[in-house]
Symmetry: C2
Subunit: 352 residues, 2 copies
């Protein structure tokens, strides 16, 4: 099925050596972001750098297993249909913790404010963070505020870091993806990216699209309560499903096969992507998760997801396969296959 495609010896088409300076694509969560981590940050950190500097680290302190994660948020505009940079900052870090199977507990909040930003806007963002933290059951316990001059900032940048706790035995990580696993998604794809884009460009698609930003740890708890040995969880934010699945495929040395007709892309997202030349698989989501589960658990996990408000649209979208390790392919509606590539740079800059 993959004849004619050269799956061997893939290298980043835009290697670091061709970019002596940062370009927008380095922040896209795709191949260029991965190059920065692999060829710049990890060598720089040397022995002090641990693991793969992924979205979430699992560490140990005093015999307790902790999840520890950080994300900065630079989305523009700061307020968009369905949410704000404040919601994203809380839910994004809560979700990074949840994707390791941890119970999120504590968040930090650090602000870089541009001189001239209205206090009223910062107040709205703080209120959104408080409401999102309350909804997620986490506490905002420590913080920091820096101010930069008018030429050196852009409104509000927010960093949140988070600490969560892992129950004994929980081991959910990309390397655990296994040939035969069912690949599940919790609902409609591409909604956050299209919501921000529509607001940014002043256009509306279809009936209007609102961001799906939401905390996913409750949905994860419902999935784990089935007793299934969930192998991998991932929230497909920057770079979308395409980036997440490619990262998982490479981390585990497996292939992924998607059914293109099984992908839940709502009409408004499909229309917007078609109009703008975007691939919905590369568009950011902020309230969806991907799961790799053993095939005999798939139905039970899907049932548990569908019984949760944030998983009502859950479905199986593909299978983990032993073929073409490290690559993701989609069966098209016409029966052919196409490679779902790792996004290189940035389709939609500053989407989160």
């Amino acid at each position: 099925m993959t004849a004619g495609l050269d799956f061997e010896n893939w290298t980043c088409p835009v290697p670091l050596r061709d970019h002596p300076a940062i370009v927008m694509g380095h922040g896209g969560g795709g191949a260029m972001s991965a190059e920065l981590v692999e060829h710049l940050f990890l060598p720089g950190y040397g022995a002090a750098g641990a693991g793969e500097l992924g979205d979430c680290a699992v560490v140990e302190a005093g015999g307790v297993r902790l999840a520890f994660s950080t994300d900065s948020f630079v989305v523009r505009p700061m307020f968009f249909p369905g949410g704000s940079i404040g919601d994203l900052a809380v839910n994004g870090t809560v979700n990074d913790l949840a994707m390791s199977g941890a119970t999120p507990l504590y968040l930090s909040a650090a602000f870089i404010l541009q001189e001239g930003t209205a206090l009223a806007d910062i107040g709205r963002i703080a209120a959104a963070m408080g409401a999102a933290a309350s909804a997620a059951g986490v506490r905002l316990v420590t913080g920091d505020t820096k101010v930069v001059d008018r030429r050196s900032g852009d409104g509000v940048y927010v960093n949140t870091a988070g600490v969560g706790m892992l129950a004994p035995g929980v081991d959910i990580a990309p390397r655990r993806a296994t040939a035969g696993d069912a690949v599940l998604v919790s609902g409609d794809l591409g909604v956050h990216g299209v919501a921000v884009l529509s607001c940014r460009e002043g256009v509306e698609f279809g009936t209007g699209v609102s961001s799906d930003t939401a905390p996913l740890h409750g949905l994860v708890a419902a999935m784990l309560a089935t007793g299934a040995d969930v192998h991998v969880l991932r929230d497909p934010t920057r770079g979308g499903v395409a980036a997440s699945l490619n990262e998982i495929a490479r981390a585990a040395g497996v292939g992924v096969e998607l059914g293109e007709r099984d992908l839940p892309v709502p009409p408004a997202v499909a229309d917007a992507c078609s109009l703008l030349g975007l691939d919905p698989l590369q568009v950011a989501n902020e309230g969806k998760l991907l799961a790799f589960v053993p095939p005999d658990s798939a139905d039970a996990v899907l049932d548990a997801m569908r019984a949760h408000p944030l998983g009502a649209g859950a479905r199986r979208i593909g299978t983990c396969v032993p073929d073409h390790p490290g690559m993701v392919v989609a069966r098209t509606a016409l029966g052919g296959t196409r490679v779902v590539t790792m996004p290189i740079g940035e389709q939609l800059p500053r989407i989160c």
Copy 2:
């Protein structure tokens, strides 16, 4: 001794209501920063906000007491005599953890990169972070990278968050300052601020001044090993000794009395401050600590500090008193007293 000064009913002379928008002073670590936290962030967070959102929170997970801290760094220039934004980002968060008495364990590192920043500069910063983390015995375990366009950033902003572990029984916090406590400092004051300023303005003072950026948890461990009941530790960064002592005095409802002649201000710092109209007590330090210890432990703690390379210049600079609670005064060389006020805004913007 404090007759004639109105210590009652102090209020911030620059309240939020007079500033509908952010000004540089909101990032100075002084009264305006405190106003933002008290009147904007805490009300915004509501029930999800915990404690005072201080530099470092002490939280609990699975029966283990953790310290959790965050700081963003926006210093300009990014490289200065004695260090870089990378050193500050690691040592700053290590020190926030250490000031609670915790052993720092894990750091996150999140970057906001401006389009066009040279990869070579980012590589130098990453290498500085790796070296600083190795020197401090902490690991960089998780990270994030965002890119903003040329008009919306300024080189590299770095956020680090940190997790440390507290030994049972350790309780070091501003509220524990007690009348009678000796107030100690670990060495020369004002060095970091003057080093950055001299580099920024292209001038040199005296023989040249290098930043004192350093990880202080080893010094803290040496102090605690004396068995002394250390009440308060604080690294006087933004806002300097003046801001730190005022915060501690207010948190504990005590007064602080400094001997102005006892303050270790090196000649080059004194010259620079005199030339530029700065108060050395308000200038940032990045490798010094203040300690409040019971009077009968002061000598033992000072001996332990002086035996450590980062405390060689340790000395007693004052006393915690029951008079004028919430205020800091200094006895001048001529026998008078002056109030050491909380800095309002920002003497030296973007110093860390």
